[in-house]
């Protein structure tokens, strides 16, 4: 078997960008991209926003047009899962039993949404793939109602899209504040008030204990005995990294595939995107980040390492993400935490726009802004400078 190809497992955002960046670094060898999905090259952020709302046509959701994909000169094995990796022999095994040898392997298998057993009725919706968004959109009508379980970003974006279309929306969340883990109590509280003004009904500090299907709809029972009914149910309680196929490979898995500071998992094995856990020099701990931008930055970094054109310094890009809800754009750079002290830079939390930094031990670890892109860039510079200080011995 000849070990001359870069094999990329997962052909969505991180996998596609790795292949493109390899070509950009003038890597001319064969590239094979394997994905379990028949068409993984759809962009996911619009699936809870514009695409769900129906204002973005199908072909706009495709990350690249055909000509551009063809121009890459990669081999795409779609609808084929990788089921095993043998690092010692440098091969991966496909679901049909075939083996592929690699020069370098890139693990870019992302995450998939969790469906807890208590909520697993056949009609429950999850949201990760285009088909999920298409199915959910059938309920996007003023005369329909939706129950969202989980007030994370995907849950709240879908809630906003449904409310904006006039549907009735209930959101159930086990913690006391939406987005508590992601942006802390104060910013989470501000977003809660935006949703409440739009007419969303929250059930906070409540767990859904059971779900039953009723006629064409669902009934959800909460842990305080309350019973909610609606036409549809979205479960958005988090996701698990796509690492099942690594079992028995000897590669380390611990909530994600474990890589070193250079996103390297083992000799000739790299990882990029939502699936990878690595020690972030600026965070001072290991992190796994589920952000669009970070997946791309990691892909470009890994491509440089494989092509031998860069990546000598550890991967240290400051995480960035955005979220669109109603007419608000939330932007966050850095490492927000629930216990940080929030210092307002402009506006106040209930204003149409505001910006603030998260302070831990007096140093800025993250900046958050709603409809305030200029402040967020200034804040980003401050966070980078202050985190770099922290890092120094």
């Amino acid at each position: 078997m000849s070990h001359d190809a870069v094999v990329i497992v997962g052909g969505s955002l991180a996998g596609l960008h790795t292949a493109e960046a390899l070509r950009g670094e003038n890597w001319t060898g064969p590239i094979v991209v394997v994905d379990a999905d028949d068409e993984p090259r759809f962009d996911r952020p619009p699936m809870s926003k514009e695409y769900l709302a129906g204002t973005v046509p199908d072909q706009k959701l495709l990350l690249r047009d055909r000509a551009r994909l063809d121009g890459l000169g990669a081999t795409w094995l779609l609808g084929q899962a990788v089921t095993a990796v043998e690092p010692a022999r440098r091969v991966v095994r496909l679901a049909d039993g075939r083996e592929l040898a690699y020069a370098d392997l890139v693990i870019a298998t992302g995450v998939s949404p969790i469906l807890p057993r208590a909520l697993a009725v056949p009609s429950a919706h999850l949201l990760r793939r285009k088909a999920d968004a298409d199915r959910l959109r059938q309920h996007l009508r003023p005369d329909r109602s939706l129950i969202v379980i989980g007030a994370g970003f995907i849950g709240l974006e879908v809630a906003a899209t449904f409310r904006a279309a006039g549907a009735r929306v209930d959101v159930v969340e086990a913690l006391a504040t939406p987005l508590l883990r992601q942006v802390g109590p104060q910013v989470g509280g501000a977003l809660r008030r935006i949703h409440e003004r739009a007419g969303v009904v929250f059930h906070l500090g409540r767990q859904a204990t059971s779900v039953t299907e009723q006629g064409d709809g669902v009934a959800v029972t909460l842990d305080d005995g309350a019973r909610l009914t609606a036409d549809a149910l979205l479960v958005a309680v988090g996701s698990v990294p796509g690492t099942a196929f690594l079992e028995g490979s000897g590669l380390e898995v611990a909530d994600g595939v474990v890589a070193d500071g250079h996103l390297q998992v083992a000799p000739y094995v790299h990882a990029a995107g939502d699936v990878v856990r690595w020690p972030h020099p600026l965070a001072g701990r290991s992190v796994r980040i589920e952000h669009w931008m970070t997946a791309i930055e990691q892909a470009k970094y890994v491509a440089k390492r494989i092509a031998g054109t860069g990546g000598d310094e550890p991967f240290a890009a400051l995480p960035y993400f955005w979220s669109d809800q109603y007419d608000r754009k939330l932007q966050v750079h850095g490492f927000p935490s629930a216990d940080a002290h929030l210092e307002l830079l402009d506006g106040d939390l209930d204003a149409d726009r505001f910006a603030a930094v998260y302070l831990v031990d007096g140093r800025a670890t993250a900046v958050v802004a709603v409809n305030h892109p200029r402040q967020v860039l200034a804040g980003r510079r401050r966070v980078l400078a202050e985190l770099a200080l922290q890092e120094a011995p």
Partner: protein
């Protein structure tokens, strides 16, 4: 050189503005890219090519003048 931007792809990360602020601007509220000029001056052109290259959303298209 002529440049165009596709606002619908932009993710408002502001990399272009940071790279060449005489050409790229951001909407005050949404951070979505806009152009201050679509025909950059010669001294800005290299930075514009760089912005198009690093834009994660491929939202910036550069049309070079025919040689």
């Amino acid at each position: 050189m002529k440049i165009t931007v596709d606002e619908s792809r932009c993710v408002a990360a502001g990399l272009c503005v940071t790279t060449e602020e005489t050409v790229f601007d951001q909407d005050e509220a949404t951070g979505i890219v806009s152009l201050l000029t679509d025909t950059p001056e010669p001294q800005a052109r290299e930075a514009v090519r760089e912005a198009a290259r690093i834009c994660p959303a491929l939202a910036i298209a550069v049309h070079e003048d025919p040689a």
